[in-house]
Amino acid sequence: MPLLAILVLAAGTYAFRLAGPVFRNRLRLPERLELLLPVAATILLITLVVTSTLTEGHGFAGWARPLGVLVAGVLAVRRAPFPVIVIAAAATTAVLRLCGVE
């Protein structure tokens, strides 16, 4: 990953962050955009969860990882603390792999 790519990503990200604090007294986001951006973010985050759970490169990632994330999902619904959720997911996946599940 070239440094230039990181710098462009960093600059764009900082611009997104700074716009609100700088411009909030001078302009308002169009209401439609304000409603749409959080939905777009949720779509992307859920998609990121689904693809990074199920796929590796262009194929299926195997069962160990999805089962680990499933355990995390159940714990999250039950409002377990964040660290417990993360550790349980990694531990489930690691143990499954240890048992030979790919």
């Binding site: 716009a19 609100g20 986001l29 859920i46 490169g57 680990g68 997911a89």
Partner: protein
């Protein structure tokens, strides 16, 4: 500047109740695990250690970092990696407007860099201006420190571990994002749009270059646009 923030921190600390501080601590701990797995995955995937470290300092947005590194490790182009990261981070724009009141005047340039999902969620939960300011800065500074230190440690460990999959680290990131985004799925329109988007991306993954399927997921918005129109008509 830094000294000013640190001195101010002590009075901010006293503003918050213990429960809030505990919650911030728990989120820091979880993000430390995710940060370490980010560093380890990036390095064991073949990137130089400076890549995840510099990225964490300058971009400081876990989702975009994982997305961008994921695209590159899957053989996608840097352009696709940057575009995926930027589209994900566009959500920070409304966040910035939502918490702009705690970022008035001095410290604004530094504070803006600390805007992220967790901190904004905590800030919006507080009612009075002092509480909002306090939790924004405490959560922001703590998470920035924890995230970057853990990424460095993860990158170092990644060189030693070699294969991060043995420890199930690849499950840590989707797990924490899922936990974070779950409350937003209670809204049915958002949930349907997200599921459609994810299905489109999943179907496209075998055929398209890495990074492109994630962007295609935005087609899920098509489900949402008619709803917005209905809402406007209703008004």
């Amino acid at each position: 500047m830094l000294l000013f923030i640190l001195m101010d921190m002590r009075s901010l600390w006293r503003t918050l109740d213990r429960r809030t501080l505990r919650d911030v601590g728990l989120v820091c701990l979880a993000d430390a695990l995710v940060g370490a797995s980010f560093g380890a995955i990036a390095v064991s995937g073949g990137l130089d250690a400076w890549v995840p470290i510099v990225m964490s300092l300058l971009v400081f947005a876990g989702g975009a970092q994982f997305a961008a590194v994921g695209v590159v490790l899957a053989g996608g182009s840097p352009v696709a990696a940057v575009v995926s990261g930027l589209v994900l981070n566009a959500r920070l724009l409304p966040y910035g407007f939502a918490v702009a009141d705690v970022l008035g005047g001095r410290g604004r340039l530094v504070g803006a860099h600390l805007i992220m999902d967790e901190g904004v969620a905590f800030t919006l939960r507080q009612d009075d201006p002092r509480g909002r300011r306090a939790v924004f800065w405490i959560c922001g500074v703590a998470l920035f420190a924890v995230w970057n230190v853990s990424v460095v440690l993860g990158a170092l460990a990644g060189q030693a571990i070699g294969d991060t999959d043995t420890f199930g680290l690849d499950a840590a990131f989707p797990a924490v994002i899922l936990a974070l985004v779950l409350p937003a799925l209670r809204d049915r329109g958002t949930r349907d749009a997200a599921l459609l988007g994810a299905a489109v991306a999943l179907a496209a993954t075998p055929f398209l270059p890495a990074g492109v399927p994630l962007l295609l997921a935005l087609t899920g918005l098509l489900l949402h646009v008619p709803q917005l129109r209905d809402r406007e008509v209703a008004r």
